[in-house]
Amino acid sequence: MIPFPPFFDLLAQTTAVLVIVVSMAQNLLYLVLLLTAVSVMLGRPRVHQSRALWNGLVDGAPPVSVIVPAYNEAETIADSLRSLLALEYPDFRVVVVNDGSTDATLDVLMREFGLEPAPLEHVSTLPHAPARGLYRSTRHANLVVLDKVNSGKADALNAGLGQVTTELFCAVDADSLIEADGLLRVVQPFVEDPERVVAVGGTVRVANGCGVRAGRVRAVALPRRMLPLLQTVEYLRAFMMARLAWGRIGCLMIVSGAFGLFRRDVVIELGGYSTKTVGEDLELVVRLHRRMCNAGRDYRIEFVPEPVCWTQVPERLGELARQRQRWQRGALETFFRHKDMLVGRKYGRVGRLGLGHILLLDVVTPLVEVLGYLLLPFFWLAGTINTPFFLAYLALTFAFGVFISVASLVLEEFERRRVPRARDLVVLTAAAIIENFGYRQLANFWRIQGHWQYWRGAAHWGRQDRRGFAAA
């Protein structure tokens, strides 16, 4: 054993206990979420087939506006829009907001959808960067394109809201593909409980590797590259376990920016999307909770576990790093903006659990976990912590992660069975194990970079690379 000064032992003990306590809290939370998700899944009635859903909702489905903010999306916008225009929904309108793209996004829209200028008018008063023009499609009566000066996604969504006249609107990422019955599925909670439901999120799945034709995912398949494959496991865990469970607990704090349905009046009442954060989707939902709790209103923010939306995930490390740093900054911005909800009595479990889990998982855990990676192996080698302690650390940091990922796969396989073949299930299981050894540590490193950027006051989105969808 190497002789170290006494303060070193104290430092090692304090660090080790901190790491173990935070890891235990994190893993206990995951375990509770997993059990909650299992109970939700076991208690859910059978998922309706698209046809039955259509028959049940065709008369009662309220009209919906779909807002698609687009910035430099020339590669994917045509496919995405075709999938939107082919949605199985009785009454909907698509509002594309070209947020000052510097590529050929507007040209692609003009060419593919036969746009022609229309008089510019706004129906809501949310402030946003100046609009340059409004276009209507000569081929699709329910498609309009608003061209505006670039000012970010949140501002584009606010501008899009200015064109919305329906009670409900759906915010969709331009690089996402929506399932044909996706809108019907997310509208269902509004139809069943119109008084209380204010927002609904759906499951987002990874489109990389899937065959796409005419804006639809025709052949579900796993990504061929390792990085998107690992993200597939992450998405499954996030949606099948975490969001499902938080939805049941009543503390769903995020409705994915890729696909979320909201009540227009409520969002306008809130002042629309915040332009002062890069995590506008998370921030909006937290602000929604805040407003509803302040007003003492009985409300629900629901989550639909059926896959409703497919998205392209980054395939390159640099691109993924920028995305994760941005997500981390968004989480920190939202947390610190609304931190008073943690203790405010009127926020109840939304504050304690909802904000509390953001504090634990997004603020504290990345720092402590990276601290653990750097110091605990060294302390163990130096003999300042014993083997049971080190094994417990390894179990909590690596093995428990394997368990949670595999359990999410089990949940998915029991309930949704969207993994096409047995072979794919084996591949995903392998990915669920592998991601804990290297990828997870890398993701935590990016989150620390996100922390650093947040504390330095960075406000940029970072460069985003776009790829077209693979043909079926």
Binding site: G43, R46, D59, V191, D193, I268, A392, V402, V406, T429
Partner: protein
């Protein structure tokens, strides 16, 4: 060295328990992979027979008096049941009745009745829904028994399945009115189904003294969904008698039903003390308002509730602009 004495036991417990959990997870996923492999093998084996049956059934159901189809020998009853369930979603009327007759003949009724006793809630609920496709006495008897279940989901699923039979509508309503679950959001589908199949039965409930506000809201929503315009008089009669939530839903329903008096009623509710009523009234005025509503809308633009005031202001601007153009009748 950090032994922390008593903590060592906890540490051992942590890593040993975690490894057990990982082992359980891996065993579970391995068994699911195995199940998938077996299913893929069975599906490949039964695919020709299943596809043949599907083609024969579709051909038969597509003709007004198609030849009866016999289930192929060797095809498991679970496969046939899945196929029937799938086809039941796309056929209507007489074809549906013939599909049900085929299902009974193929022994699927017995299969679904057996699944009613499954240990899994999802399977039981699924069986309840599927039995609703068959108008046979055993199916009806089993569903009626399910109406007495302790679990509200089973009761509501059974009620929804039985609601397809219009002859049972009045009897079902009597059963459901005394069931607290009938007020909840999960009951919406039952009332929707009932309003689509037997709207008059739902309309008669509106005037009953034993129907509370929560249930009235469900009934109104269901009638709105069904587009039952004949209910307008009864719905109008509810206004002002059961509180703001009912008023709001009634007004929205009348609006959906295109009732001629909805604008007059919205004008009356525009001055209501409850924000919910004023919001609903403004919603109607937004769609149907005329120039003469400008005064009421002006007062709503000063509303203390921010979204009402904001929307009223926009509407006011629109009404004024349209009046200037002569587009909105006074």
């Amino acid at each position: 060295m950090l032994g922390l004495g008593s903590l060592d036991f906890l540490m051992r417990l942590i890593w040993q328990a975690t490894l057990v959990l990982v082992a359980i997870g891996l065993i579970l996923i391995a068994s699911l992979v195995l199940r998938r492999l077996l299913e893929e093998w069975a599906a490949a084996r039964h695919r020709p027979a299943r596809e043949g049956l599907r083609r024969a059934l579709l051909a038969s159901l597509n003709r007004p008096s198609g030849d009866p189809v016999a289930a192929p020998a060797g095809l498991p009853v679970a496969e046939i049941a899945r196929l029937v369930d799938e086809l039941a979603q796309i056929v209507r009327g007489d074809a549906k009745a013939r599909l049900a007759a085929f299902a009974v003949g193929a022994g699927i009724e017995r299969y679904w009745l057996r699944r009613l006793r499954s240990a899994t809630t999802l399977r039981r609920l699924d069986a309840v829904r599927c039995l609703g496709l068959l108008a046979t006495d055993p199916a009806r008897g089993a569903l009626t028994t399910m109406l007495a279940q302790g679990d509200a989901r089973h009761r509501l699923a059974a009620a929804e399945a039985l609601a397809q039979d219009t002859a049972l509508a009045a009897w079902l309503v009597e059963r459901l009115l005394v069931d607290p679950a009938s007020r909840g959001r999960h009951a919406a589908r039952f009332w929707h189904r009932l309003a689509a199949n037997a709207p008059e039965t739902v309309v008669t409930c509106l005037a009953r003294a034993d129907v509370d506000a929560a249930l009235l809201i469900r009934l109104l929503e269901a009638l709105g969904d069904a587009g039952h315009t004949a209910a307008a008089t009864e719905i109008e009669a509810l206004l002002g008698r059961h509180g703001a939530a009912v008023d709001r839903t009634a007004l929205v329903t009348l609006d959906r039903l295109n009732h001629p008096a909805v604008l007059r009623l919205a004008r009356a509710l525009g001055g209501a003390p409850e924000a919910e009523s004023r919001r609903a009234a403004l919603g109607v005025l937004e769609r149907r308002g005329r120039a003469r509503d400008a005064e009421l809308v002006s007062s709503l633009a000063l509303d203390p509730v921010v979204d009402i005031a904001a929307n009223a202001e926009k509407l006011l601007a629109r009404l004024r602009a349209a009046t200037a153009d002569g587009a909105v009748p006074a």
